[in-house]
């Protein structure tokens, strides 16, 4: 057993942290310390897990010593481990950022316990090897996110939350239906076991139908076209720290689930499912970026860009070649950090100027050149300017698209990259470059922003580092893609020699 426990740590640590901070609900300082130090510990444990997985192959933990197809297993393959590390980075950055930005009122309503619970749910979803357990973790993170979304209770928050809750419940219902049908068909919930047994099912049409149900359920959670509108309706309403972690993580859990299910389980009829995925990817990219062009509020622009970026990730899965999957995984790694960071920058802009509206902003470059540079790094990376992380991510994907002769997808991906650049330049011009608008806004001039700058700076440094040290990152993505495209490795690791 030895180091197997590493697989459980990313789940049990945030659960314990959340529970402990709930017991000290009225002690704000203790909660903040638990938040910052605890998420740092969590990050360390997740990195240890990543190295363990990288060096020693897929890690499997049979919870409670119940053997594989019967009990719940936690599985850490490269994709899962990478996602967990990314989640923990975002969690740590958010916890640091929250120290200075989250008001006492929200802390009293349980901001920190919810944050930890959210992280536990996200990590659980990335690590579980059981399809029903995946559903449970989805619910855990959704419950936490519902509560985080409406902390504060403003009108816009409620309005956004209703759309968010309704569509996500619909998606959960579809997910559950699909799980029920799967169980009826093969009588098992272990994902590796399902993958083995689906092959011998007579009614392959039914398998495709179930696959499509999973596809719709996860596509809603990933905010893919056409059911994406819950995202721009809600993501700009909560506090910035919450927006950042939502933007970085939540939709990516949906993307992760798509990657997991459509590489491991439903690979029999890829001609059908992956063709649908390809068109979803193309339309998601386009609608997202066009939606962003019409917005003039920073957080709304960024929200729409999440959607268009989701399109790129799904594109990687849809092309389903080794290079495309590598590109998709690389894109996820790059995107989570960049997107969370952009929201954090937006929060700092609000702190300095008291507005998210581009019309009311201006002159930031003159007053805060440091912030301007810290904005430019993730913004240009998002648009795919070399040598930042986004360039390599887009480059790999587009190269894969060219190799697969998916010309429509390649064309749209290039166009969307250009439009993303346009969007980022729009924010740059309006918020940073143009003069301070008349009448000059009364600035509350909050001090002690050093910690916020540091948080943003560290994430920006990571973006640059992913660009400069693209090779080791690429190798990790390659390992993840190799495991995804050879599901037998995963199945072998989970079920061992006892497979029928």
């Amino acid at each position: 057993m030895d180091l197997e426990v590493l697989v459980a740590l990313p789940i049990i640590i945030p659960l314990l942290l959340g529970a402990i901070s709930l017991t000290v609900l009225s002690n704000h300082n203790a909660q903040r310390w638990i938040g910052a130090v605890g998420t740092a510990l969590l990050l360390i444990s997740s990195i240890a897990l990543l190295f363990q997985t990288k060096d020693h192959g897929i890690q499997v933990l049979e919870v409670g010593s119940w053997p594989a197809p019967f009990g719940i297993v936690l599985v850490s393959d490269m994709l899962g481990a990478i996602m967990v590390v990314l989640a923990c980075i975002t969690g740590f950055a958010t916890a640091l950022y929250s120290l200075k930005t989250v008001r006492k009122r929200f802390e009293r309503f349980g901001y920190y316990p919810l944050l930890h619970l959210l992280l536990a749910g996200v990590n659980g979803a990335f690590l579980t090897g059981d399809i029903f357990n995946l559903y449970v973790w989805f619910e855990v993170l959704l419950v936490a996110s519902f509560a985080l979304l409406i902390l504060g209770g403003e009108r816009a928050q409620m309005e956004g939350a209703i759309k968010y809750v309704t569509l996500n419940l619909l998606s959960s219902a579809l997910f559950l239906t699909a799980i029920g049908l799967t169980y009826g068909l093969v009588g098992t919930l272990n994902m590796a076991d399902i993958a083995v047994k689906l092959g011998s099912v007579d009614d392959q049409k039914m398998v495709t139908v179930i696959g499509s149900l999973f596809l719709i359920a996860f596509a809603i959670k990933a905010a893919a076209f056409p059911l994406f509108f819950w995202l721009p309706a809600s993501y700009h309403t909560p506090q910035v720290a919450v927006s950042a972690i939502f933007a970085g993580l939540l939709t990516k859990v949906g993307v992760y689930a798509l990657y997991r299910v459509f590489t491991l389980i439903f690979t029999a009829d890829t001609g059908f499912t992956h063709e649908i995925l390809l068109w979803i990817a193309i339309l998601t990219m386009l609608t997202g970026v066009l939606g962003a062009a019409a917005q003039f509020e920073i957080r709304r622009i960024l929200s729409f860009h999440i959607i268009s970026q989701i399109g790129y990730m799904i594109l990687g899965l849809a092309l389903f070649t080794p290079l495309a999957i590598i590109g998709g995984v690389f894109y996820i790694m790059h995107h989570i950090i960049v997107k969370a960071n952009l929201f954090l920058v937006a929060g700092l802009i609000y702190r300095l100027r008291g507005s998210f509206e581009l019309k009311k902003l201006g002159g930031l470059y003159k007053d805060h050149p440091g912030l301007a540079i810290l904005f430019l790094i993730p913004a240009l990376s998002l648009a795919g300017v070399p040598p930042l992380s986004g360039f390599f991510a887009k480059f790999i994907l587009i190269k894969a698209g060219v190799e697969a002769s998916a010309w429509w997808a390649v064309g749209v991906a290039l166009l969307v990259g250009l439009l993303t650049l346009f969007s980022m330049i729009k924010i740059w011009n309006e918020a940073f470059w143009k003069g301070t608008p008349e009448p000059a806004p009364a600035i509350p001039a909050p001090t002690r922003n050093a910690l916020l700058y540091w948080t943003i700076g560290i994430l920006a440094a990571m973006t640059v580092a992913i660009g400069i040290f693209a090779q080791p990152i690429y190798v990790m993505a390659e390992m993840a893609a190799h495991q995804l495209l050879n599901p037998s490795i995963y199945i072998e690791a989970v079920l061992g020699g006892q497979t029928p």
Binding site: A19, L22, L25
Partner: protein, 147 residues
């Protein structure tokens, strides 16, 4: 303005509740401990215990119920979750897989054999968690009525 009282106050309920309360609490503990091998367990026991506090709330008032609980119900949830999460760890000390149930048999002089285990710890966690959750809801509603 004087805070509005619950209009459910009655002598019968009041007297009855003083008799019922200890019984309910005892019964909830009975259910909790019985839940190992027979119907019962932390969840149902927690509901009964929460009902006991709710009875206090109806029979007397919000303040009395809060005083009886002494802590904020959310803190109970926290303690419960900590216990439940801790129940997963002892297995690691003896080198078994995470969350494997551990049993310790203790011989007591008069009562005989006592079975302690991590599932019991987990169940106590659930018990506290359920009490805390239900009472958070009840108290929030009562608070809205109170003010």
């Amino acid at each position: 303005m004087k805070p509005r009282r619950f209009n459910m106050r009655s002598l019968i309920l009041n007297t009855g509740s003083t008799l019922l309360l200890p019984l309910l609490v005892l019964f909830s503990l009975f259910l909790l401990l019985r839940g190992h091998d027979e119907p019962g367990g932390g969840f149902i026991g927690g509901l009964v215990a929460a009902a006991a506090v709710a009875l206090k709330l109806f029979a007397e008032d919000y303040k009395a119920a809060r005083d009886m609980l002494r802590v904020h119900p959310l803190q109970l949830v926290g303690v419960g979750l900590v216990l439940a999460a801790l129940a997963s760890l002892p297995a690691l000390l003896v080198g078994q897989s995470f969350f494997t149930a551990q049993w310790w048999l203790v011989d007591l002089p008069i009562f005989g054999e006592l079975k302690l285990s991590t599932p019991l710890l987990f169940d106590i966690g659930v018990f506290l968690g359920v009490i805390g959750t239900v009472l958070t809801v009840v108290f929030t509603l009562a608070e809205a009525e109170h003010s």
